[in-house]
């Protein structure tokens, strides 16, 4: 009565196309194609090399954060302080170097240590108190926002820090974080490369390592995970620290690129990171999602926000178009998946 694995009579055939459509990332990818085709049809600048370089730029920093936030979300948590942490990292580096004359590398190391510590505290409080990460990180979000502003005001008496390009070693930093690569006559930011690296690293971590397995378990059913020996607390804290690491990277990119930073930098971005992850197929309840999906979500967001400008739509209605495009993208994504699932499950 037992039948070979290859030919179970209870399993119907499934076409390759449908199998492919079932991957959550691919649903999002089709959404991205849709958005691209839409704007490319409206504006030929949008699809020119210069245009592509332009909309890949905001997508890249968003994408780096989205990958980290996606891992955290798969692990079952939010980090509302992620956006503000980019500002904290940049402000710390900026103040230390330009106001206190600390060595550039030491300053970067200190700011990295600081945001990692913030990530640790976020994670530790979540693990220790069992409170939802939403509320814990909302607390740190508000506190950091106050600290960023308060300290910047205290030290500089203004709300921005300038002259980062005057520090020793700026050239090296610029080459690493903010140089441009010319392809087909258009200047592509190096951040786009880092984005690709982050996506690959995130995917690898998630799908190919033990830690990745623990992330899925922590978000999927922390209790079950704990019962079979998954170090749930350690995993959670590490995920918060990974988010902080990404925030440090993005914050540093920003201050190097702009040579200055504002006290309110990064504020409000946290929601956009989450949006990108969710568009890319991450479940808000944890336990499901992908790094590639989050990256594609960032791409959709980047294309849409710049595409509206290229399409020449009235800025007053910007948010309306943005909302409509987002809704259409996720609905299309969902529709495709449903369609594919009709023939598998």
């Amino acid at each position: 009565m037992s039948v070979g694995i290859a030919a179970d009579e209870r399993v119907a055939r499934v076409g390759l196309l449908k199998r492919v459509l079932l991957k959550p990332e691919l649903g999002a990818l089709l959404g991205a194609v849709l958005v691209f085709v839409f704007f490319a049809a409206l504006s030929d600048v949008f699809r020119s090399p210069g245009g592509v370089a332009n909309w890949l730029d905001p997508a890249s920093t968003l994408g780096i954060m989205a990958v980290a936030v996606a891992l955290l979300m798969i692990g079952g948590h939010f980090d509302l302080s992620a956006g503000v942490q980019t500002g904290t990292a940049a402000i710390t580096s900026g103040l230390l170097t330009t106001y206190y004359g600390v060595n550039t590398w030491a300053a970067l190391a200190i700011s990295l240590a600081l945001v990692l510590a913030i990530g640790f505290v976020n994670g530790y409080l979540v693990v220790r108190t069992g409170l939802p990460s939403f509320i814990i990180t909302l607390g740190t979000f508000l506190m950091l926002q106050g600290l960023n502003l308060g300290i910047t005001k205290l030290v500089t008496n203004t709300v921005q820090i300038n002259n980062f390009d005057k520090i020793i070693g700026y050239d090296v930093l610029h080459a690493v974080f903010a140089s441009e690569i010319t392809i087909a006559g258009a200047d592509f930011q190096i951040a786009i490369l880092w984005w690709v690296v982050a996506t690959i690293a995130g995917s690898w971590l998630l799908l190919r390592t033990r830690f990745g397995n623990w992330i899925f378990a922590t978000g999927g059913d922390a209790n079950a995970g704990r019962n079979v020996g998954v170090p749930v607390a350690r995993t959670t804290i590490t995920l918060f620290m990974i988010t902080s690491l990404a925030a440090w990277f993005v914050g540093t990119t920003q201050i190097v690129r702009l040579t200055s930073i504002q006290a309110q930098a990064g504020f409000g971005q946290e929601l956009i990171y989450i949006v990108a992850a969710v568009i890319g197929g991450c479940l808000l309840t944890g336990g499901f999602g992908s790094a590639v999906g989050a990256s594609i979500g960032a791409l959709i967001f980047g294309m849409t926000s710049q595409g509206i400008v290229y399409a020449g739509w009235d800025a007053d209605w910007f948010k309306f178009f943005l909302g409509a495009m987002l809704l259409l993208a996720v609905l299309a994504n969902q529709y495709i998946r449903r369609f594919a699932e009709l023939s598998r499950r």
């Binding site: 079979v228 020996g229 998954v230 336990g287």
Partner: protein, 268 residues
């Protein structure tokens, strides 16, 4: 018999807030033997098991492993001490693939340093093999556990514990959702583990499942021990009677048969 049992439970007590789940329960588990824990619903069987597997810590009494007192502070510590458990709620993550669940918490790796990675090929292959051994022929190890039938899920959990149980294997009602054939397979597994020298703790409501494989029988009732017997001290009939309900089934069978005259008198 060896003189020092693998695991000894002495006077263990556990309360949840104002609920006394276990009080003063003792028994022993020897290597190469099966200790059955029997009792009504809510008797405290799962609570005892969770103490043995490090999920809960006892409020009183002690556990001795190889004669030495131990404190199992977490499931990880229990696993590291060679104790693997099939929980009543199975401890599986529904959204994760079968093979990922199988190796959850004990993932095999290959490579080194930053390139140390989950050995997927081994994991998938092992999962498939262990399940085939149990008579479960899974269509696709990548299927999320949440879409398996209740019994298939139970089989995966058992196969996992058997695979990882180094010294002591604990099973909390492993056969309850299983078909006759699968239940037989599980009992054989238990016997095989026992014969390999493992200690086994086996919880069930079915005396017909417990008696053939058990060496000791701990009977719980409302959190208290009704006694801890060696097999030689007890017959199947006595065991069944002790399990509150006794030979009731037989009697019930008669009661349930209706009076033949009434048969077919189906009210509209």
């Amino acid at each position: 018999m060896t003189d020092s049992p693998l695991l000894e439970i002495r006077d263990v007590t556990k309360t949840f807030g104002n609920v006394i789940s276990l009080s003063g329960v003792s028994t022993t588990v020897r290597a190469g033997q099966v200790t059955c824990v029997l009792g009504d619903n809510g008797a405290g069987k799962s609570t005892l098991i969770k103490i043995l597997s490090g999920v809960h810590q006892p409020d009183g009494g002690e556990l001795l492993l190889d004669g030495k007192p131990v404190r199992l502070g977490s499931p990880r510590e229990a696993l590291d001490a060679g104790i693997a458990t099939v929980y009543q709620d199975l401890a599986m993550v529904p959204l994760m693939a079968i093979w990922r669940n199988f190796f959850l918490g004990s993932e095999p790796t290959k490579g080194w340093g930053p390139f140390r990675r989950f050995d997927r090929a081994t994991a998938i292959e092992t999962t498939r093999r262990e399940l085939l051994d149990m008579g479960i022929d899974i269509r696709d190890p990548d299927q999320p556990v949440g879409t398996l039938s209740g019994g298939e899920r139970q089989s995966v959990a058992i196969a996992r514990a058997v695979h990882f149980g180094a010294r002591l294997l604990i099973l909390d009602e492993p056969t309850s959702a299983l078909g006759v054939k699968q239940a037989g397979v599980v009992l054989r597994y238990i016997a095989r583990a026992r014969d390999r020298g493992l200690g086994v703790v086996f919880i069930t409501h079915n005396p017909h499942h417990a008696y053939p494989v058990g060496d000791r029988f701990l009977i719980l009732n409302r959190g208290r021990s009704l006694g801890d017997f060696a097999k030689s001290e007890l017959s199947l009939a006595e065991l069944t009677r002790m399990m509150a309900g006794g030979a009731e089934l037989e009697e019930l069978a008669h009661e349930l048969e209706r009076d033949p005259a009434a048969t077919g008198k189906a009210p509209q």
